[in-house]
Amino acid sequence: MVKVRLLQLGAFACVSALWAIVAAAGVVSPTALPGPRAVTVALGDLLAGGAFWQAVAETLRGAVVGLVAAIAVGIPVGLVTGMYEAAEESSRLLVEMLRSFPVIALLPVFLLVLGSTPGMKATVVFIACVFPVLLQAQYGARGVSQAVREMAHGYRIPRLLRMRRVVLPAAAPSIMTGLRLAATTSVLVSIGVEVLTTLPGIGHMIMESQQAGASARAYAYILTAGAIGYTITLLAQFAEHRLLRRRPPARAGEE
Protein backbone atom coordinates (compact mmCIF):
# COMPACT_ATOMS: atom_id res chain seq x y z
CA MET A 1 0.00 0.00 0.00
CA VAL A 2 2.82 2.38 0.94
CA LYS A 3 4.59 1.39 -2.25
CA VAL A 4 1.51 2.14 -4.32
CA ARG A 5 1.19 5.57 -2.70
CA LEU A 6 4.85 6.27 -3.46
CA LEU A 7 4.32 5.24 -7.06
CA GLN A 8 1.31 7.53 -7.31
CA LEU A 9 3.28 10.42 -5.84
CA GLY A 10 6.02 9.73 -8.37
CA ALA A 11 3.55 9.80 -11.24
CA PHE A 12 2.10 13.06 -9.92
CA ALA A 13 5.61 14.57 -9.73
CA CYS A 14 6.36 13.41 -13.28
CA VAL A 15 3.20 14.98 -14.68
CA SER A 16 3.83 18.25 -12.80
CA ALA A 17 7.41 18.34 -14.08
CA LEU A 18 6.24 17.69 -17.62
CA TRP A 19 3.66 20.45 -17.30
CA ALA A 20 6.33 22.87 -15.99
CA ILE A 21 8.70 21.99 -18.84
CA VAL A 22 6.05 22.39 -21.55
CA ALA A 23 4.92 25.70 -20.06
CA ALA A 24 8.47 26.99 -19.61
CA ALA A 25 9.61 25.92 -23.07
CA GLY A 26 7.06 28.29 -24.55
CA VAL A 27 5.64 25.76 -26.99
CA VAL A 28 2.21 27.13 -26.15
CA SER A 29 1.55 30.71 -25.21
CA PRO A 30 1.43 31.32 -21.43
CA THR A 31 -2.18 32.51 -21.74
CA ALA A 32 -3.17 29.09 -23.05
CA LEU A 33 -1.09 27.13 -20.54
CA PRO A 34 0.39 28.89 -17.52
CA GLY A 35 3.01 27.05 -15.48
CA PRO A 36 2.15 25.01 -12.38
CA ARG A 37 3.82 27.53 -10.08
CA ALA A 38 1.71 30.45 -11.29
CA VAL A 39 -1.44 28.34 -10.98
CA THR A 40 -0.56 27.26 -7.43
CA VAL A 41 0.04 30.86 -6.41
CA ALA A 42 -3.26 31.91 -7.99
CA LEU A 43 -5.06 29.08 -6.20
CA GLY A 44 -3.55 30.18 -2.88
CA ASP A 45 -4.80 33.73 -3.44
CA LEU A 46 -8.25 32.46 -4.34
CA LEU A 47 -8.55 30.24 -1.28
CA ALA A 48 -7.96 33.25 0.94
CA GLY A 49 -10.66 35.39 -0.72
CA GLY A 50 -14.42 35.33 -0.38
CA ALA A 51 -15.37 35.48 -4.07
CA PHE A 52 -13.97 32.00 -4.61
CA TRP A 53 -16.10 30.35 -1.96
CA GLN A 54 -19.15 32.22 -3.16
CA ALA A 55 -18.60 30.89 -6.68
CA VAL A 56 -18.17 27.34 -5.37
CA ALA A 57 -21.36 27.69 -3.31
CA GLU A 58 -23.32 29.00 -6.31
CA THR A 59 -22.20 26.11 -8.51
CA LEU A 60 -22.95 23.52 -5.83
CA ARG A 61 -26.35 25.01 -5.08
CA GLY A 62 -27.52 24.68 -8.67
CA ALA A 63 -26.09 21.17 -8.85
CA VAL A 64 -27.66 19.98 -5.59
CA VAL A 65 -31.14 21.40 -6.24
CA GLY A 66 -31.25 19.80 -9.70
CA LEU A 67 -29.82 16.53 -8.43
CA VAL A 68 -32.27 16.20 -5.54
CA ALA A 69 -35.19 16.81 -7.88
CA ALA A 70 -33.77 14.24 -10.31
CA ILE A 71 -33.48 11.65 -7.54
CA ALA A 72 -37.01 12.36 -6.26
CA VAL A 73 -38.43 11.79 -9.75
CA GLY A 74 -35.98 9.28 -11.21
CA ILE A 75 -35.97 6.57 -8.55
CA PRO A 76 -39.77 6.07 -8.20
CA VAL A 77 -40.38 6.24 -11.95
CA GLY A 78 -37.46 3.91 -12.61
CA LEU A 79 -38.60 1.36 -10.02
CA VAL A 80 -42.20 1.33 -11.24
CA THR A 81 -41.30 1.02 -14.91
CA GLY A 82 -38.77 -1.65 -13.96
CA MET A 83 -41.39 -3.69 -12.07
CA TYR A 84 -43.80 -3.90 -14.95
CA GLU A 85 -42.46 -5.17 -18.23
CA ALA A 86 -45.17 -3.47 -20.27
CA ALA A 87 -44.29 -0.09 -18.80
CA GLU A 88 -40.61 -0.60 -19.48
CA GLU A 89 -41.21 -1.70 -23.03
CA SER A 90 -43.56 1.15 -23.82
CA SER A 91 -41.27 3.82 -22.46
CA ARG A 92 -38.02 2.35 -23.78
CA LEU A 93 -37.79 4.16 -27.09
CA LEU A 94 -38.98 7.47 -25.66
CA VAL A 95 -36.46 7.33 -22.80
CA GLU A 96 -33.72 6.29 -25.24
CA MET A 97 -34.38 9.30 -27.42
CA LEU A 98 -34.66 11.76 -24.55
CA ARG A 99 -31.56 10.38 -22.89
CA SER A 100 -29.31 10.77 -25.88
CA PHE A 101 -30.35 14.40 -26.16
CA PRO A 102 -27.47 16.74 -25.30
CA VAL A 103 -29.15 18.75 -22.55
CA ILE A 104 -26.89 21.76 -22.92
CA ALA A 105 -28.38 22.32 -26.39
CA LEU A 106 -31.60 23.28 -24.62
CA LEU A 107 -29.84 26.29 -23.16
CA PRO A 108 -30.77 28.85 -25.85
CA VAL A 109 -34.40 27.73 -25.62
CA PHE A 110 -34.35 27.88 -21.83
CA LEU A 111 -32.73 31.29 -21.93
CA LEU A 112 -35.68 32.43 -24.01
CA VAL A 113 -38.37 30.77 -21.93
CA LEU A 114 -37.03 30.92 -18.35
CA GLY A 115 -34.42 33.64 -18.63
CA SER A 116 -30.99 33.65 -17.03
CA THR A 117 -31.97 32.60 -13.51
CA PRO A 118 -30.67 30.11 -10.90
CA GLY A 119 -33.92 28.19 -11.41
CA MET A 120 -33.03 27.71 -15.06
CA LYS A 121 -29.64 26.28 -14.07
CA ALA A 122 -31.28 23.84 -11.65
CA THR A 123 -33.78 22.82 -14.34
CA VAL A 124 -31.02 22.02 -16.84
CA VAL A 125 -29.19 20.02 -14.15
CA PHE A 126 -32.40 18.16 -13.34
CA ILE A 127 -32.97 17.12 -16.95
CA ALA A 128 -29.38 15.96 -17.31
CA CYS A 129 -29.43 13.93 -14.08
CA VAL A 130 -32.86 12.35 -14.15
CA PHE A 131 -32.06 9.83 -16.89
CA PRO A 132 -29.02 8.12 -15.38
CA VAL A 133 -30.92 7.77 -12.08
CA LEU A 134 -34.09 6.54 -13.78
CA LEU A 135 -32.33 4.04 -16.03
CA GLN A 136 -30.18 2.58 -13.26
CA ALA A 137 -33.22 2.24 -10.96
CA GLN A 138 -35.11 0.54 -13.77
CA TYR A 139 -32.20 -1.76 -14.49
CA GLY A 140 -31.96 -2.70 -10.83
CA ALA A 141 -35.68 -3.34 -10.48
CA ARG A 142 -35.58 -5.64 -13.50
CA GLY A 143 -32.88 -7.65 -11.78
CA VAL A 144 -35.28 -9.04 -9.15
CA SER A 145 -35.28 -12.75 -9.83
CA GLN A 146 -38.36 -14.49 -11.14
CA ALA A 147 -38.62 -16.67 -8.03
CA VAL A 148 -38.64 -13.70 -5.68
CA ARG A 149 -41.12 -11.90 -7.87
CA GLU A 150 -43.48 -14.87 -7.93
CA MET A 151 -43.20 -15.38 -4.21
CA ALA A 152 -44.03 -11.74 -3.48
CA HIS A 153 -46.97 -12.14 -5.81
CA GLY A 154 -48.06 -15.42 -4.27
CA TYR A 155 -48.08 -14.03 -0.76
CA ARG A 156 -50.11 -11.10 -2.04
CA ILE A 157 -47.69 -8.60 -0.60
CA PRO A 158 -49.20 -5.15 -1.14
CA ARG A 159 -47.63 -3.21 -3.95
CA LEU A 160 -46.14 -0.43 -1.86
CA LEU A 161 -44.64 -2.83 0.63
CA ARG A 162 -43.26 -4.95 -2.18
CA MET A 163 -41.68 -1.92 -3.74
CA ARG A 164 -40.13 -0.82 -0.46
CA ARG A 165 -38.93 -4.13 0.91
CA VAL A 166 -38.30 -6.25 -2.18
CA VAL A 167 -37.63 -4.15 -5.23
CA LEU A 168 -35.82 -1.22 -3.63
CA PRO A 169 -33.20 -3.31 -1.77
CA ALA A 170 -32.62 -5.42 -4.86
CA ALA A 171 -32.12 -2.33 -6.97
CA ALA A 172 -29.96 -0.51 -4.41
CA PRO A 173 -26.53 -1.31 -5.90
CA SER A 174 -27.64 -0.25 -9.34
CA ILE A 175 -29.27 2.90 -7.97
CA MET A 176 -26.04 3.80 -6.20
CA THR A 177 -24.22 3.63 -9.54
CA GLY A 178 -26.85 5.90 -11.02
CA LEU A 179 -26.44 8.37 -8.16
CA ARG A 180 -22.69 8.42 -8.62
CA LEU A 181 -23.05 9.15 -12.34
CA ALA A 182 -25.71 11.79 -11.72
CA ALA A 183 -23.72 13.52 -8.98
CA THR A 184 -20.71 14.03 -11.25
CA THR A 185 -22.99 15.09 -14.10
CA SER A 186 -24.76 17.66 -11.93
CA VAL A 187 -21.58 19.65 -11.20
CA LEU A 188 -20.47 19.37 -14.80
CA VAL A 189 -23.75 20.71 -16.18
CA SER A 190 -23.89 23.43 -13.56
CA ILE A 191 -20.47 24.68 -14.62
CA GLY A 192 -21.35 24.31 -18.30
CA VAL A 193 -24.41 26.52 -17.88
CA GLU A 194 -22.32 29.12 -16.05
CA VAL A 195 -19.72 29.21 -18.80
CA LEU A 196 -22.38 30.05 -21.36
CA THR A 197 -24.51 32.48 -19.35
CA THR A 198 -23.95 35.30 -16.91
CA LEU A 199 -25.04 33.20 -13.94
CA PRO A 200 -22.51 33.35 -11.08
CA GLY A 201 -20.42 30.29 -10.24
CA ILE A 202 -17.17 28.53 -11.04
CA GLY A 203 -17.85 28.41 -14.77
CA HIS A 204 -18.50 32.11 -14.89
CA MET A 205 -15.31 32.82 -12.92
CA ILE A 206 -13.24 30.77 -15.37
CA MET A 207 -14.60 32.82 -18.25
CA GLU A 208 -14.14 36.11 -16.41
CA SER A 209 -10.56 35.31 -15.36
CA GLN A 210 -9.57 34.28 -18.86
CA GLN A 211 -11.14 37.38 -20.38
CA ALA A 212 -9.23 39.50 -17.88
CA GLY A 213 -6.01 37.85 -19.02
CA ALA A 214 -5.50 36.02 -15.72
CA SER A 215 -5.20 32.53 -17.14
CA ALA A 216 -3.45 31.21 -14.03
CA ARG A 217 -6.57 32.10 -12.07
CA ALA A 218 -8.75 30.44 -14.72
CA TYR A 219 -6.69 27.27 -14.35
CA ALA A 220 -6.98 27.47 -10.57
CA TYR A 221 -10.77 27.46 -10.97
CA ILE A 222 -10.61 24.54 -13.40
CA LEU A 223 -8.52 22.57 -10.91
CA THR A 224 -11.07 23.40 -8.23
CA ALA A 225 -13.81 22.05 -10.45
CA GLY A 226 -11.74 18.89 -10.95
CA ALA A 227 -11.22 18.56 -7.20
CA ILE A 228 -14.97 18.87 -6.60
CA GLY A 229 -15.72 16.21 -9.20
CA TYR A 230 -13.05 13.91 -7.80
CA THR A 231 -14.29 14.37 -4.23
CA ILE A 232 -17.82 13.51 -5.32
CA THR A 233 -16.60 10.33 -6.99
CA LEU A 234 -14.65 9.30 -3.88
CA LEU A 235 -17.55 10.10 -1.55
CA ALA A 236 -19.98 8.17 -3.73
CA GLN A 237 -17.66 5.17 -3.81
CA PHE A 238 -17.31 5.33 -0.03
CA ALA A 239 -21.08 5.56 0.44
CA GLU A 240 -21.56 2.66 -1.95
CA HIS A 241 -19.19 0.57 0.13
CA ARG A 242 -20.87 1.43 3.39
CA LEU A 243 -24.44 0.97 2.21
CA LEU A 244 -23.85 -2.24 0.34
CA ARG A 245 -21.57 -3.88 2.84
CA ARG A 246 -23.91 -6.78 3.38
CA ARG A 247 -23.44 -7.77 -0.23
CA PRO A 248 -20.43 -9.65 -1.47
CA PRO A 249 -18.23 -7.42 -3.64
CA ALA A 250 -19.03 -7.63 -7.30
CA ARG A 251 -15.49 -8.62 -8.08
CA ALA A 252 -12.36 -9.07 -6.08
CA GLY A 253 -10.07 -6.29 -7.16
CA GLU A 254 -6.35 -6.63 -6.92
CA GLU A 255 -5.74 -3.12 -5.68
Partner: protein, 271 residues
Protein backbone atom coordinates in the same frame (compact mmCIF):
# COMPACT_ATOMS: atom_id res chain seq x y z
CA UNK B 1 -40.13 -9.03 -39.07
CA UNK B 2 -41.81 -9.19 -35.66
CA UNK B 3 -44.23 -6.27 -35.62
CA UNK B 4 -45.66 -6.62 -32.14
CA UNK B 5 -42.59 -5.65 -30.10
CA UNK B 6 -41.94 -2.72 -32.41
CA UNK B 7 -45.51 -1.52 -31.97
CA UNK B 8 -45.27 -1.94 -28.23
CA UNK B 9 -42.25 0.33 -28.13
CA UNK B 10 -43.54 2.78 -30.68
CA UNK B 11 -46.99 3.65 -29.39
CA UNK B 12 -45.86 5.93 -26.56
CA UNK B 13 -43.44 8.08 -28.60
CA UNK B 14 -46.09 8.34 -31.30
CA UNK B 15 -48.69 9.35 -28.72
CA UNK B 16 -46.37 11.98 -27.24
CA UNK B 17 -45.70 13.32 -30.69
CA UNK B 18 -49.42 13.52 -31.43
CA UNK B 19 -50.16 15.23 -28.13
CA UNK B 20 -47.46 17.79 -28.83
CA UNK B 21 -48.80 18.29 -32.32
CA UNK B 22 -52.38 18.80 -31.16
CA UNK B 23 -51.66 20.82 -28.02
CA UNK B 24 -49.43 23.33 -29.78
CA UNK B 25 -51.70 23.59 -32.80
CA UNK B 26 -52.77 27.19 -33.16
CA UNK B 27 -50.66 28.06 -30.17
CA UNK B 28 -50.36 31.81 -29.78
CA UNK B 29 -47.63 31.50 -27.15
CA UNK B 30 -44.48 33.26 -28.23
CA UNK B 31 -42.16 30.66 -26.71
CA UNK B 32 -44.00 27.54 -27.81
CA UNK B 33 -44.89 27.90 -31.47
CA UNK B 34 -46.95 25.18 -33.18
CA UNK B 35 -44.92 22.03 -33.80
CA UNK B 36 -45.89 22.19 -37.46
CA UNK B 37 -44.26 25.60 -37.67
CA UNK B 38 -41.08 24.30 -36.01
CA UNK B 39 -40.87 21.34 -38.36
CA UNK B 40 -41.61 23.66 -41.27
CA UNK B 41 -38.76 25.93 -40.17
CA UNK B 42 -36.44 22.94 -39.90
CA UNK B 43 -37.37 21.79 -43.39
CA UNK B 44 -37.03 25.28 -44.84
CA UNK B 45 -33.64 25.94 -43.21
CA UNK B 46 -32.31 22.58 -44.34
CA UNK B 47 -33.39 23.21 -47.92
CA UNK B 48 -32.77 26.92 -48.35
CA UNK B 49 -30.75 28.13 -45.38
CA UNK B 50 -27.21 27.40 -44.34
CA UNK B 51 -28.28 24.77 -41.82
CA UNK B 52 -26.77 21.91 -43.84
CA UNK B 53 -23.45 23.70 -43.73
CA UNK B 54 -23.77 24.10 -39.95
CA UNK B 55 -24.66 20.45 -39.58
CA UNK B 56 -21.67 19.29 -41.62
CA UNK B 57 -19.30 21.58 -39.71
CA UNK B 58 -20.50 20.20 -36.37
CA UNK B 59 -20.49 16.62 -37.58
CA UNK B 60 -16.95 16.90 -38.93
CA UNK B 61 -15.65 18.31 -35.65
CA UNK B 62 -17.30 15.55 -33.62
CA UNK B 63 -15.94 12.84 -35.90
CA UNK B 64 -12.40 14.24 -35.93
CA UNK B 65 -12.28 14.79 -32.17
CA UNK B 66 -13.76 11.40 -31.42
CA UNK B 67 -11.43 9.61 -33.84
CA UNK B 68 -8.38 11.23 -32.26
CA UNK B 69 -9.67 10.42 -28.79
CA UNK B 70 -10.28 6.79 -29.76
CA UNK B 71 -6.80 6.32 -31.16
CA UNK B 72 -5.08 8.03 -28.23
CA UNK B 73 -7.37 6.58 -25.57
CA UNK B 74 -7.23 2.97 -26.77
CA UNK B 75 -3.47 3.15 -27.40
CA UNK B 76 -2.63 4.61 -24.01
CA UNK B 77 -5.25 2.45 -22.30
CA UNK B 78 -3.80 -0.78 -23.68
CA UNK B 79 -0.31 0.14 -22.47
CA UNK B 80 -1.45 1.34 -19.04
CA UNK B 81 -3.72 -1.66 -18.60
CA UNK B 82 -0.99 -4.13 -19.51
CA UNK B 83 1.72 -2.70 -17.28
CA UNK B 84 0.71 -3.12 -13.66
CA UNK B 85 3.12 -0.55 -12.20
CA UNK B 86 1.96 2.10 -14.61
CA UNK B 87 -1.67 1.33 -13.87
CA UNK B 88 -1.22 1.59 -10.11
CA UNK B 89 0.80 4.78 -10.41
CA UNK B 90 -1.55 6.66 -12.72
CA UNK B 91 -4.85 5.58 -11.13
CA UNK B 92 -5.69 8.71 -9.11
CA UNK B 93 -4.30 11.03 -11.78
CA UNK B 94 -6.57 9.51 -14.43
CA UNK B 95 -9.56 9.65 -12.10
CA UNK B 96 -8.84 13.30 -11.42
CA UNK B 97 -8.49 14.10 -15.12
CA UNK B 98 -11.74 12.26 -15.75
CA UNK B 99 -13.53 14.24 -13.06
CA UNK B 100 -12.31 17.61 -14.33
CA UNK B 101 -15.11 19.17 -16.35
CA UNK B 102 -13.82 19.88 -19.85
CA UNK B 103 -16.44 22.60 -20.29
CA UNK B 104 -14.23 24.65 -17.98
CA UNK B 105 -11.53 24.60 -20.65
CA UNK B 106 -13.87 26.03 -23.27
CA UNK B 107 -13.24 29.72 -22.44
CA UNK B 108 -9.51 29.15 -21.98
CA UNK B 109 -9.02 27.31 -25.26
CA UNK B 110 -11.34 29.39 -27.41
CA UNK B 111 -10.14 32.74 -26.08
CA UNK B 112 -6.51 31.82 -26.69
CA UNK B 113 -6.63 29.62 -29.76
CA UNK B 114 -9.47 31.25 -31.65
CA UNK B 115 -12.89 30.32 -32.94
CA UNK B 116 -11.85 28.06 -35.79
CA UNK B 117 -12.35 24.34 -36.19
CA UNK B 118 -9.03 23.23 -34.64
CA UNK B 119 -9.65 24.39 -31.06
CA UNK B 120 -13.11 22.78 -31.13
CA UNK B 121 -11.69 19.45 -32.28
CA UNK B 122 -9.10 19.74 -29.53
CA UNK B 123 -11.80 20.39 -26.91
CA UNK B 124 -13.86 17.43 -28.12
CA UNK B 125 -10.75 15.28 -28.00
CA UNK B 126 -9.87 16.50 -24.51
CA UNK B 127 -13.31 15.64 -23.17
CA UNK B 128 -13.85 12.31 -24.85
CA UNK B 129 -10.41 10.75 -24.41
CA UNK B 130 -10.85 9.99 -20.67
CA UNK B 131 -13.89 7.71 -20.78
CA UNK B 132 -12.28 5.75 -23.63
CA UNK B 133 -8.92 5.51 -21.86
CA UNK B 134 -10.38 4.48 -18.49
CA UNK B 135 -12.69 1.93 -20.05
CA UNK B 136 -9.82 0.45 -22.05
CA UNK B 137 -7.74 0.12 -18.89
CA UNK B 138 -10.55 -1.60 -17.04
CA UNK B 139 -11.30 -3.79 -20.06
CA UNK B 140 -7.69 -4.98 -20.23
CA UNK B 141 -7.76 -5.61 -16.49
CA UNK B 142 -10.87 -7.74 -16.75
CA UNK B 143 -9.37 -10.23 -19.17
CA UNK B 144 -9.07 -13.49 -17.32
CA UNK B 145 -5.55 -14.07 -15.98
CA UNK B 146 -5.61 -17.55 -17.51
CA UNK B 147 -5.82 -16.03 -20.98
CA UNK B 148 -2.91 -13.76 -20.21
CA UNK B 149 -0.78 -16.52 -18.78
CA UNK B 150 -1.46 -18.74 -21.74
CA UNK B 151 -0.51 -16.03 -24.21
CA UNK B 152 2.67 -15.38 -22.27
CA UNK B 153 3.40 -19.07 -21.87
CA UNK B 154 3.33 -19.61 -25.60
CA UNK B 155 5.66 -16.62 -25.96
CA UNK B 156 3.37 -14.88 -28.35
CA UNK B 157 5.18 -11.69 -29.36
CA UNK B 158 3.78 -8.67 -27.59
CA UNK B 159 2.57 -6.83 -30.69
CA UNK B 160 0.62 -9.88 -31.77
CA UNK B 161 -0.60 -10.39 -28.23
CA UNK B 162 -1.88 -6.83 -28.00
CA UNK B 163 -3.63 -7.08 -31.34
CA UNK B 164 -5.12 -10.55 -31.12
CA UNK B 165 -5.59 -11.20 -27.41
CA UNK B 166 -5.77 -7.99 -25.40
CA UNK B 167 -7.58 -5.74 -27.85
CA UNK B 168 -10.44 -8.16 -28.63
CA UNK B 169 -10.73 -9.02 -24.95
CA UNK B 170 -11.14 -5.39 -23.98
CA UNK B 171 -13.31 -4.49 -26.96
CA UNK B 172 -16.72 -4.61 -25.25
CA UNK B 173 -15.56 -2.16 -22.58
CA UNK B 174 -13.78 0.00 -25.15
CA UNK B 175 -16.96 0.34 -27.18
CA UNK B 176 -18.93 1.19 -24.04
CA UNK B 177 -16.36 3.91 -23.42
CA UNK B 178 -16.70 5.26 -26.93
CA UNK B 179 -20.45 5.49 -26.45
CA UNK B 180 -20.00 7.56 -23.29
CA UNK B 181 -17.41 9.64 -25.15
CA UNK B 182 -19.87 10.28 -27.96
CA UNK B 183 -22.35 11.99 -25.66
CA UNK B 184 -19.53 14.03 -24.13
CA UNK B 185 -18.39 14.98 -27.64
CA UNK B 186 -21.85 16.20 -28.66
CA UNK B 187 -22.07 18.35 -25.54
CA UNK B 188 -18.65 19.88 -26.13
CA UNK B 189 -19.54 20.50 -29.76
CA UNK B 190 -22.59 22.47 -28.69
CA UNK B 191 -20.87 24.36 -25.86
CA UNK B 192 -17.83 25.33 -27.93
CA UNK B 193 -20.05 26.55 -30.75
CA UNK B 194 -22.35 28.53 -28.49
CA UNK B 195 -19.33 30.06 -26.79
CA UNK B 196 -17.75 31.32 -29.97
CA UNK B 197 -18.17 30.22 -33.54
CA UNK B 198 -19.23 31.70 -36.84
CA UNK B 199 -20.81 28.42 -38.00
CA UNK B 200 -22.17 25.22 -36.54
CA UNK B 201 -25.42 24.00 -35.00
CA UNK B 202 -24.62 25.59 -31.63
CA UNK B 203 -24.11 28.92 -33.33
CA UNK B 204 -27.36 28.47 -35.24
CA UNK B 205 -29.50 27.99 -32.14
CA UNK B 206 -27.70 30.79 -30.33
CA UNK B 207 -28.16 33.24 -33.19
CA UNK B 208 -31.80 32.43 -33.80
CA UNK B 209 -32.46 32.44 -30.06
CA UNK B 210 -30.95 35.83 -29.45
CA UNK B 211 -32.80 37.30 -32.41
CA UNK B 212 -36.05 35.76 -31.07
CA UNK B 213 -36.66 33.45 -34.03
CA UNK B 214 -38.24 30.96 -31.70
CA UNK B 215 -39.32 28.40 -34.30
CA UNK B 216 -35.78 28.27 -35.71
CA UNK B 217 -34.32 27.88 -32.22
CA UNK B 218 -36.55 24.89 -31.53
CA UNK B 219 -35.80 23.49 -34.99
CA UNK B 220 -32.03 23.66 -34.38
CA UNK B 221 -32.44 22.12 -30.94
CA UNK B 222 -34.45 19.25 -32.40
CA UNK B 223 -31.83 18.74 -35.09
CA UNK B 224 -29.08 18.45 -32.46
CA UNK B 225 -31.21 15.87 -30.68
CA UNK B 226 -31.65 13.92 -33.90
CA UNK B 227 -27.91 14.12 -34.56
CA UNK B 228 -27.08 12.80 -31.09
CA UNK B 229 -29.57 9.97 -31.37
CA UNK B 230 -28.53 9.03 -34.91
CA UNK B 231 -24.85 8.88 -33.95
CA UNK B 232 -25.58 6.67 -30.94
CA UNK B 233 -27.70 4.32 -33.06
CA UNK B 234 -24.91 4.18 -35.63
CA UNK B 235 -22.44 3.28 -32.92
CA UNK B 236 -24.77 0.53 -31.68
CA UNK B 237 -24.87 -0.95 -35.17
CA UNK B 238 -21.08 -0.93 -35.39
CA UNK B 239 -20.97 -2.55 -32.00
CA UNK B 240 -23.29 -5.32 -33.09
CA UNK B 241 -21.09 -6.04 -36.07
CA UNK B 242 -17.92 -6.09 -34.01
CA UNK B 243 -19.28 -7.85 -30.96
CA UNK B 244 -21.47 -10.51 -32.52
CA UNK B 245 -19.27 -13.15 -30.93
CA UNK B 246 -19.58 -11.53 -27.51
CA UNK B 247 -23.37 -11.37 -27.50
CA UNK B 248 -23.67 -14.91 -28.77
CA UNK B 249 -21.32 -16.29 -26.21
CA UNK B 250 -23.13 -15.60 -22.98
CA UNK B 251 -26.88 -15.59 -23.48
CA UNK B 252 -27.52 -16.55 -19.86
CA UNK B 253 -25.75 -13.44 -18.63
CA UNK B 254 -28.03 -11.27 -20.67
CA UNK B 255 -31.26 -11.77 -18.75
CA UNK B 256 -31.97 -8.08 -18.20
CA UNK B 257 -31.37 -5.79 -21.11
CA UNK B 258 -27.85 -4.45 -20.80
CA UNK B 259 -27.77 -0.71 -20.26
CA UNK B 260 -26.46 0.86 -23.43
CA UNK B 261 -24.29 3.68 -22.17
CA UNK B 262 -22.38 2.63 -19.17
CA UNK B 263 -21.43 -0.69 -17.84
CA UNK B 264 -21.48 -0.58 -14.10
CA UNK B 265 -17.72 -0.39 -13.89
CA UNK B 266 -17.11 2.43 -16.30
CA UNK B 267 -17.60 5.59 -14.32
CA UNK B 268 -18.88 7.36 -17.36
CA UNK B 269 -20.65 10.66 -17.26
CA UNK B 270 -23.57 11.20 -19.54
CA UNK B 271 -24.48 14.79 -19.95
Amino acid sequence: MPWKPILRQLWLPALVFLILLVSTEGSASFYFPPLTEVLGALWHELLHGSLVEDLLFSLRNIMAGLALATVAGVGAGLVIGEIRVLRLATGPLLDFARATPTVGFVPVIILTLGIGSGPKIFLIFLGSVWPILLNTVSGVRDISPAVHETARGYRIPWTLRLRRVVLPGALPQILAGIRVALSVAVVLMVVSEIYGSPVGLGNFILQSGSSFHVAETWAGTILIGILGYALSVLLLLVEHRLLGWYHERAPRARAPRPIPTESVKSNGVVV
